[in-house]
Symmetry: C2
């Protein structure tokens, strides 16, 4: 890990007394000019690595999950590699796309609340992607992650890659979040339909497997050691 960047979207800067975690790498706080969800994908000069691990402030990932996710990303640097999987599906009677976060056999999106992607995509999102999409994200105050999934699928014609069985990231201490609102799924579905209309097609692609470590759930002889204990 090279450094931790905190994208601080709150117009009130962090309290100077706020105690940050003691890490072996620097923590840098970026005070945003405006409260836009697009800020998390700006190509900050402070990002000096190819790989970005994008995580929401309420996500809890273990160290081994981060290490393994990064190793899978190293093998697939053009893809979104991460943890929370979601899918889109077509509702024939409504003639529209729906957003789905249920447990499924296949998925087509990985939420950028816990995902690795190449720094290139911050340039692509900010400078190459149509500004209409960033405006939509600001207007809906939602769906920057769906927009990023559309962008990668459009560029690569590949699905994202899901790692480990970690599926949902319910934060028990965080209280109410955006996702609790009953209109959350309707809003997410609206974004998928908006983006499909904007691109002229739906670029999202499905994948039917996830990546586990090679010896996950494998009984190995006594005395032999695994690289990961839990994943």
């Amino acid at each position: 890990m090279h450094s931790v960047l905190v994208i601080w979207n709150n117009p009130i800067p962090p309290n100077p007394d706020l105690s940050w975690p003691q890490l072996h790498v620097p923590i840098k706080v970026i005070l945003s000019q405006n409260n836009s969800l697009n800020n998390r994908f700006l190509p900050y000069d402070l990002i000096e690595t190819d790989a970005i691990l994008s995580i929401d402030d309420d996500i809890q990932l273990r160290h081994d999950e981060i290490v393994f996710g990064f190793r899978v990303w190293r093998e697939h640097r053009d893809q979104l590699v991460g943890f929370p999987a979601r899918a889109h599906f077509w509702n024939g009677s409504d003639s529209s796309w729906f957003y789905n976060s249920d447990y499924m056999c296949e998925f087509s999106m990985i939420l950028t609340g816990a995902a690795f992607f190449h720094k290139y995509y911050t340039f692509a999102y900010t400078s190459e992607m149509s500004p209409d999409i960033r405006n939509m994200v600001d207007n809906y105050f939602n769906c920057e992650d769906i927009a990023m999934n559309f962008l990668l699928a459009h560029i690569t014609r590949k699905p994202p890659l899901k790692v480990t069985l970690h599926w949902s990231f319910d934060c028990v201490y965080c209280g109410s979040t955006l996702h609790d609102r009953p209109d959350h799924y309707a809003a997410r579905s609206r974004c998928i339909n908006w983006l499909t209309n904007h691109y002229g097609y739906n670029p999202l692609m499905y994948s039917q497997y996830r990546a586990d470590s090679v010896l996950f759930k494998t009984r190995i002889p006594l005395g032999k050691q695994k690289c990961y204990k839990y994943i």
Copy 2:
């Protein structure tokens, strides 16, 4: 499944009384002219599908494993997708490559005793690959699977893809096999060194994950259903 091809390398043809399994697809027996391990990779006209599931006669795969393996192959049609993973490693003190079938965190070969690959590679193996390699396979009476792994890695610059935790395929009813011979590993290592010398480099690439079904080992709410029960 389209059909089952049995590559019969024994100079004595199968006994006419031999009872074949009753399948929903035809079983076709190909009587080989000679007992060559290269015969399993001939581009038989009888193969009418893109995907070939290559299996040894002593391999036991479950139906769900075959279905899932095929679905992963559909997403990676240029790669070798299968079950028994192996690796090569460099021994600095010997200055030579070694073959390894131990439980490992990474692998670089999938044995064609239980693997999917595209029919194209039967043409590549038989007609595009150097005849010296097929001669080596005949001389050693071994290593056709290692040769196929070298060929795919050389063509694609990608590692193979391991599916499910199924690692070894010990056949309890089969008695002694080629693999029991103590010189098996020495012979396999010799092949890797021969092929590396032939290609002028070692094209094998490592991968550090395997593909499981999206909901493998995931607890899902009562009433919801998984696509696979065991994988």
